[in-house]
């Protein structure tokens, strides 16, 4: 069974801090994704990666960066956290190949920026 593990369920940080959210998957998936989920806005894609060291911007990449140094790990970085980045962050992975493969999600990190 695929397992996607996010490092923290809840996180509280202060404005201006550099914040790292970590995600690890154990199924050798090529694709990994970071979303944020806000009430009334649904899931919005921040970044995705289709291979080690490869990344592509999603719909809302501003204020975020990502790192994928190993296939199983995909990190989301908030360079200088702001209150409008308070949200639920979800990581997902899927096999390579077609972009319409089902995605497997972690349990999310609820991030509060004070």
């Amino acid at each position: 069974d695929v397992k996607v593990t996010q490092s923290s369920r809840y996180l509280v940080k202060r404005t201006g801090e550099k914040v790292f959210l970590e995600c690890v998957q154990d199924m050798d998936h090529e694709n990994m994704f970071w979303y944020r989920q806000d009430p009334g806005l649904g899931l919005r894609l921040i970044y995705f990666s289709y291979d080690v060291k490869m990344k592509e911007k999603g719909d809302i990449p501003e204020g975020y960066s990502v790192s994928r140094e190993k296939k199983e790990r995909f990190s989301l970085i908030l360079e200088s956290a702001s209150t409008n980045q308070t949200s639920m962050y979800l990581c997902a992975s899927s096999p390579g190949g077609y972009s319409n493969q089902p995605q497997h999600f972690g349990d999310g990190t609820r991030l509060s920026i004070l």
Binding site: V4, G40, G42, K57, G58, S99, Q103, F105, G106, R110
Partner: protein, 114 residues
Amino acid sequence: SQQGEEDPQALSIQEGENATMNCSYKTSINNLQWYRQNSGRGLVHLILIRSNEREKHSGRLRVTLDTSKKSSSLLITASRAADTASYFCATVAPLNSGYSTLTFGKGTMLLVSP
């Protein structure tokens, strides 16, 4: 970029009743997927229906697809309190970068009361 849109936004029923939620999308698809999200957790893939299929069953779930109307429906029969969750449809849509990836609707919140 949002491809799918679920309807209704919220649905409240009693245990034992059937729940039907709908999804409309904009562009042609290879497949359409349905996911469930329990409160405070990640999304879980439920079922995938291909564009050449009209109906698919999985346990108490029944999904239909009408490509001429660009719509799908998810029927949960004999609902249980444990079915209380948000349900999302997902289809592939292009990003501004030119890549395509799954995009999710805003979801239908289902409440099943004992």
